[in-house]
Symmetry: C2
Subunit: 250 residues, 2 copies
């Protein structure tokens, strides 16, 4: 049998929001490796399956554990929340995989929070958008600022991951103030918390209100572009069809 | 029974790449509405289900057909490829829904091409990224140029949708030339064609090579940031863990 690691995006957390392919890979693999919280989210759906967990911030250790298991000719699934390739483990698995050339890697994509959160809010990402993490654990804050400013100046919708943590309580406020240099304080924004999990909540507000919003690490934030509006309580960025139809273009 | 439209992202095309929730919604609905090509992709998995199709560019008509069916107390699924909220039908459904206030709308998210294509290429989207459509059917080219320049100047990974069509053969070349004002011509790029469908193909190349690449409307394009590199033939944007470990931070 070939040695293989599947890096599997499980979506926002609910079993139903994972792809059919993700579920069938988890079903057939010998062992599931992941961050404790994500493994707990799915464990009940794969009873009897061997699970290996590590706490947060032990990403490299988790990857090496996965490769060691695969080296024993076991089919290994490394799970990530959302998509494996968006702030997930796919990149690190390829990097560490250089030390384990006999183990094949396959990425199984999943629904990232920009998509699952967008669906809860309405349709905020109907036009060009940027996905930016506010975590400066692995990125200099100056570069994050530059990206926020660039996206706002080009009137792109912005989806923020990791908007806050215990050590970074004011980061969302700082981000909003940068964006307000280019966008109206009335810009339509939305937040979603615990997407697809128990206690899911969303709220739509202005950019000025978002600046004072108390986001936590389970929150995903959406900042509209200049055309984003509220329709029946939902956050919608029009793509332009209506305009086209009015002007008779096709 | 309440009148309802589900707007369902079916992922890149293969049945296995749709979420379990998407499949169960399609299973239980009375009628599936969609663009002919997408309905054909999934029809065999829902035998006997009533299907209503319209050709491309008849988006508003397709939405109104869906609302008319829902008005007859039928559960309607409007399908989109990828995610319903990323250049899909979710926004237009909300806009047209203003004319049908008694019909509820629910968005079922799916794996958009940025994620499914990224998984084929490796892990290109591991860091902040922008998703930009090169179609100027609904957006002025000047705004598209501005967004390309902004994303490139801020060293974001860029994923391009609709990189080409019969009428826009040189758009990808124009986009690459704008990006090369800020990014090295050696920047690692990738293209994926027919993601998750028969004939899926991917190729990794430099930005200079991408400028002369003959993309078509089934191609999704990825332009790396300054740190993106090739590992074992895959396109990988490191998130920074390795660097962190080397400098001893945690």
């Amino acid at each position: 049998m070939s040695k293989k690691i599947y890096v599997v995006g499980i979506g926002p957390g609910g079993y139903e929001q994972m792809t059919i392919r993700a579920a069938s890979v988890l079903e057939k693999c010998d062992i599931i490796v992941g961050y404790t919280v994500y493994v707990d989210l799915i464990a009940e759906h794969f009873p009897g399956k061997e699970m290996l967990t590590t706490p947060m911030r032990q990403e490299e250790k988790r990857c090496r554990m996965a490769f060691e298991e695969a080296g024993k000719d076991r089919q290994v699934a490394m799970i990530c929340s959302g998509d494996a390739g968006v702030y997930g483990m796919a990149g690190l698995i390829y990097e560490i995989g250089m030390d384990y050339p006999d183990v094949a890697v396959e990425i199984i994509s999943g629904v990232t929070a920009a998509l699952s959160g967008g669906a809860v809010l309405g349709a905020p990402l109907m036009h060009d958008f940027a996905v930016i993490s506010l975590s400066d654990l692995l990125t200099k804050w100056e570069l994050i600022e530059k990206r926020l400013a660039a996206a706002a100046a080009a009137d792109m919708v912005i989806c923020l991951y990791n908007p806050s943590s215990k050590k970074r309580k004011d980061y969302l406020n700082r981000a909003c103030r940068i964006i307000m240099r280019y966008a109206s304080p009335d810009t339509v924004c939305g937040v979603v918390r615990s997407i697809g999990r128990e206690g899911e909540k969303y709220q739509i507000m202005t950019l000025a209100e978002l600046a004072d919003y108390g986001a936590d690490m389970f929150t995903t934030v959406f900042i509209g572009n200049s055309t984003t509006r509220i329709i029946n309580g939902k956050m919608v960025t029009p793509r332009g069809y209506s305009h086209k139809q009015k002007t008779g273009q096709e």
